[in-house]
């Protein structure tokens, strides 16, 4: 879900360049996976994690897997914080993160909290379905802190942002070229084009780390 806006930009650029039509379907990573397993007519799967593409390859449903973006986790807040002050700042406050059991960004957020020694007993963590909803919770004023993807920052207009690159590894978002894409030139072309510099630039502009970098 975190990549949708970027994917749309990419698709437009690709269509302009090659004339191929790209149709984007989106949903949560887990749900898209379940659909692929049940035979959904998708050619390329841009996952928000590395586990599911790997599993698809194992199961023989994907022919190729590759990291297409490195997600960057950031902590947004109402007032500036840093590693030293965050522990005190969150005390008694509401902190939103994606549900770590279903969302990679949630898992990353838990890791970050451990590194920052944030004790979940001192504040109120709320877990919502995905980073999109995390941002919503923050934007609507229901949370004081939120762990979101750097790609979401432009849309959020958050007062202040703390980069967590030092505390948590980038989130590897893998893509899978699905079985079904065999013989589909357009799918193949887009798959290849995703690895191009042009695509990498767009991905980087959106706030992700490019896999090559």
């Amino acid at each position: 879900a975190n990549f949708l806006t970027t994917a749309e930009t990419l698709a437009e650029a690709f269509e302009a360049e090659t004339g191929h039509q790209i149709v984007i379907t989106h949903g949560s990573t887990g749900q898209l996976y379940a659909q692929i397993v049940q035979g959904a007519p998708f050619d390329i799967f841009l996952s928000a994690d590395e586990e599911r593409p790997a599993r698809l390859k194992e199961e023989g449903r994907a022919t190729e897997v590759r990291t297409y973006a490195l997600g960057r986790l950031v902590l947004v807040s109402r007032a500036p914080v840093d590693a030293a002050t965050v522990g005190e700042a969150v005390a008694g406050r509401t902190v939103a993160l994606a549900d770590p059991t279903v969302a990679p960004y949630g898992k990353a957020a838990t890791t970050a909290m451990e590194k920052l020694r944030l004790d979940t007993a001192t504040f109120r963590p709320v877990l919502v379905a995905n980073v999109g909803q995390v941002a919503t919770v923050f934007v609507t004023g229901n949370a004081d802190f939120a762990f979101v993807s750097a790609s979401q920052l432009p849309a959020m207009a958050a007062p202040s942002t703390m980069d967590l690159a030092d505390f948590v590894a980038p989130i590897r978002q893998d893509a899978a070229l699905l079985d079904r894409a065999q013989g589909n030139d357009a799918a193949r072309a887009f798959w290849d084009w995703l690895a191009s510099d042009a695509a990498a630039g767009t991905i980087r502009d959106a706030g992700y780390g490019a896999p090559g970098a």
Binding site: L4, H26, G27, Q31, A34, G39, A40, P41, F42, T136
Partner: protein
């Protein structure tokens, strides 16, 4: 991206679902309302079950059911050459199952309160049970029928979890408005979300007011 394909698809899905639901639910609700079978509570309970499962989970099971390897899904592929999941018919099937209780229950309540003597009168005046059903039970159950139709229609318009799962969110084919709004919210595009929601609400409100106002004018009730 234009929102019209989604609007059109939504209305089409809701309309088709409502029509199919009423066709199935009418005889079934009537049976429930009039039967003396001891198994009735069981059927009533089963009717309410689709409500209990979270939509995504219901969607998950429907996906399994519709997979080409499953009996139903396989049959569909053999008949139409297309997979049932991720197709419009698949969406319709999912919506029908999901909204079934909303169609059946108001109808059953309404049918149960049609006075027996009036039905007897219809029979002696030459109406077969079928004829009496259409000429007496149905008009007298009108309020229930409208409630059933409105709940089914609105629920399908707002439906989302199941559709997201079964439909595959394919633009122009299975991407309905609710998913557009959902996407807008998820991608923090609140402006679009507000606009879409506003139109969704405004259009629904107009349709519903018209339905209810018309219903009201249409002659005296039972009271």
């Amino acid at each position: 991206m234009s929102v019209w394909p989604a609007v059109f698809l939504t209305l089409q899905l809701a309309a088709v679902t409502t029509v199919i639901l009423l066709i199935i639910a009418l005889p079934f609700a009537w049976w429930l309302a009039t039967t003396r079978a001891r198994s009735r509570p069981l059927f009533e309970a089963i009717t309410a079950l689709p409500l209990v499962l979270p939509p995504t989970v219901l969607g998950f099971y429907l996906l399994i059911l519709m997979a080409p390897s499953a009996p139903l899904g396989g049959l569909w592929v053999r008949l139409t050459g297309d997979t049932l999941a991720f197709s419009f018919p698949g969406l319709v099937l999912a919506s029908v199952i999901y909204s079934f209780p909303f169609a059946v229950q108001p109808l059953q309540t309404a049918f149960a309160s049609v006075p027996r003597p009036v039905l007897d009168a219809a029979r002696t005046l030459g109406a077969s049970p079928r004829d009496a059903f259409f000429s007496v039970s149905m008009p007298l159950a009108r309020r229930g029928l409208i409630t059933a139709a409105v709940l089914s229609f609105a629920h399908t318009v707002g439906e989302f979890g199941v559709i997201l799962m079964v439909g595959g969110n394919i633009p122009g084919k299975t991407r309905v408005i609710s998913i557009e709004v959902f996407s807008a919210v998820e991608t923090l595009d609140y402006r679009t979300a507000h606009i879409l929601s506003f139109w969704l609400l405004a259009l629904s409100l107009i349709v519903l007011v018209l339905v209810y106002a018309f219903n009201r004018r249409g002659g005296a009730g039972l009271g």
